[in-house]
Amino acid sequence: MQEMTREQKKRLFRKLLWLFFGAFLMSNGPGLYLVNSPRLIAGIPILYLWGLFWAVVQILIIVYAYQKLWRYELEVEITGPDGETGVGKGAGR
């Protein structure tokens, strides 16, 4: 698989951020008006299922961003004022 450029990563990050915000609007914003009824589906309130569904969507976006953008991000070595270096493990491929 080809490594994404910095620009591509930025674009994907923005897209995922908007997707996440959209999912949040559906789960905790105006989207709630669509399902605000005492209906039960398979014995479970539709509002609960709605919350559960969007929570899964939000987590999937996070997992996707982790895999595509952050998991293999190169970590620069940082030297503190005390001379000690700090670096995350698992540097880039």
Binding site: F24, G29, P45, L47, V63, I78, G90
Partner: protein, 515 residues
């Protein structure tokens, strides 16, 4: 007697971990406050989780579901946002902390804006955040003892514990106060001894316990009510004179607490406020590196969302069916007390204690850092030795514990979640001070100061309008959470004032905004 034995074992294990951390530590401020920036991803993830999950989640959140219905489920969706924030703000904060040796949030803000007044302002916000948050943990300890000692009858010399009363010689008090004092004392002692290392190590143990407690608590409630369908069917059927059937599974709920604007805004207040709070901020500093934060983000978002949706939600809603008339914050405890064998119930009680203690210790610890590093050193004793500072921090943890405890045992101070949300609203006022150092070169010192001052003013007015003689609106006007009003004003003022005031020096911008 059984609950006390199980709690004793839990306390001894926690205490042992605290002592081990103290043994490993060094008497330096960097070690005491941020564990020498050495914590790997398991410690970081569980410490962030344990600090996040508190009496608020174990007792307060079920209480809100019990009182206000399904609307509070959506509050729980602040967790994925918090997960993202661990990486989005945690990573740059870790890097800046490492590069410039920051210990407290104010160190970073004061360095960027070259402003000691901003240092004090951000510190004060942090201090105001910490106290109510510690209060609700001790309040949780009180509820806990109050419920579990109902069946106990212990006579040990001068110590008598039964019938919601503790008697030691001539001294007598309620089990609520005894529980709060006990929880506060234990937490205080090991935090004083081992600093951040003790806080984090004990949090690993406590974090694992509370995850087990929440999930198992939810499953037990489902089982008691005949499965998920049984639980929700019974919740849907609840009705009273003021609440028709179905009101517990619709918005705004039986008490009218959860309108859509309120859900939307209080979720944002909780997520951004909590993740910008001093205790979490210092956890970002104490991570070994970005990979620890990256993995913490993932663990946090997945595990805690699961705990909330399949644990807390079932406990609170199911608890309403099982106990129609108890103090909302004690509903989980009532389930444990009434339906589980004593040994098992006692184990679950320790998971609630773990949640309360792990949050209280992190917050008390960060409060000590804020006062010593941001007020004591710059304004009172510039040349204080490392040893002196660690001892000052220990004194401050003691004082803050006593103050929080005193507030916690006052009668009728409010529901756990309501107090917690005040804390989060205050912490949210710190968030705009991050915008300059992390993202926007145009943010200025004047914009940040005036943003915080006016944001706090609006927060207070929209929280208690009646105290200012305002009758045009009640708390949280237009159904928008008071913390969100304050935050919006803070952001608007930051933007406006920054446009007409001077930016930080070019050298500072270059230092912070390296590409």
């Amino acid at each position: 007697m059984t609950p006390l034995v199980v709690i004793f074992i839990y306390v001894m294990v926690t205490f042992g971990i605290g002592v081990a951390a103290w043994w490993r530590g060094r008497v330096t401020t960097a070690d005491f406050y941020i564990a020498g920036r050495s914590q790997g991803y398991i410690v970081t993830a569980l410490a962030i989780m344990a600090t996040f999950f508190s009496s608020f989640a174990m007792l307060g959140a079920p209480g809100m579901l019990y009182k206000g219905g399904i609307g509070f489920v959506f509050f729980m969706l602040n967790v994925p946002i918090c997960g993202v924030l661990i990486w989005i703000i945690g990573k740059p904060l870790w890097a800046l902390g490492k590069r410039f040796g920051y210990i407290t949030p104010s160190d970073l803000v004061a360095d960027y804006y070259k402003s000691e007044s901003l240092r004090v302002l951000v510190s004060l916000l942090g201090i105001v955040y910490v106290i109510p948050y510690a209060v609700i943990q001790f309040q949780g300890g009180g509820y806990l003892f109050d419920v579990i000692t109902q069946q106990s009858d212990v006579q040990l010399g001068f110590f008598h514990l039964a019938g919601r009363q503790v008697t030691i010689g001539a001294f007598s008090t309620s089990t609520f106060i005894a529980g709060a004092v006990f929880l506060a004392s234990i937490t205080m002692i090991y935090t004083i001894m081992g600093g951040m290392r003790a806080v984090s190590w004990t949090n690993v143990f406590q974090g694992a316990l509370l995850v087990i407690g929440m999930i198992a608590g939810g499953l037990i409630t489902v089982w008691l009510l005949g499965g998920v369908e049984g639980l929700f069917g019974k919740v849907a059927a609840i009705q009273s004179e003021t609440a028709p059937a179905g009101s517990f599974i619709t918005l705004p709920g039986p008490a009218g607490m959860f309108s859509v604007p309120y859900i939307f805004t209080f979720t944002l207040v909780a997520s951004f406020g909590t993740m910008a709070s001093p205790s979490q901020w210092m956890r970002y500093y104490s991570a070994k590196g970005p990979s620890a934060l990256r993995r913490s983000m993932l663990i946090f978002a997945i595990v805690l969302t699961t705990c909330y949706l399949f644990g807390t939600a079932f406990i609170g809603l199911g608890g309403r069916v099982l106990f129609p008339d108890v103090t909302p914050d004690t509903v989980f405890l009532e389930i444990l007390h009434q339906y589980l064998p004593l040994v098992l119930a006692s184990f679950f009680v320790t998971t609630i204690m773990a949640a309360a203690m792990s949050t209280a210790n992190g917050n008390l610890h960060s409060l000590a850092a804020l006062i010593t590093q941001d007020i004591y050193v710059p304004f009172l004793r510039r040349g204080a030795s490392q040893r002196e500072l660690v001892w000052i921090a220990r004194l401050l943890i003691t004082a803050a514990s006593v103050l929080s405890l005193w507030i916690a045992i006052q009668p009728d101070i409010g529901m756990i979640v309501q107090i917690g949300l005040i804390s989060m609203a205050v912490a949210l006022q710190m968030f705009p001070s991050l915008i300059g150092p992390l993202w926007w070169k145009g943010a200025t010192r004047a914009g940040t100061v005036w943003g915080i001052v006016l944001g706090m003013a609006v927060l207070i007015v929209t929280f208690v309008p009646d105290k200012f003689g305002i009758t045009a609106f009640g708390r949280s006007p237009l159904g928008i959470h008071y913390g969100f009003w304050g935050f919006m004003v803070n952001l608007a003022v930051l933007w406006l004032v920054s446009r007409i005031s001077s930016r930080p020096e070019e050298a500072t911008l270059a230092r912070f905004h390296q590409e």
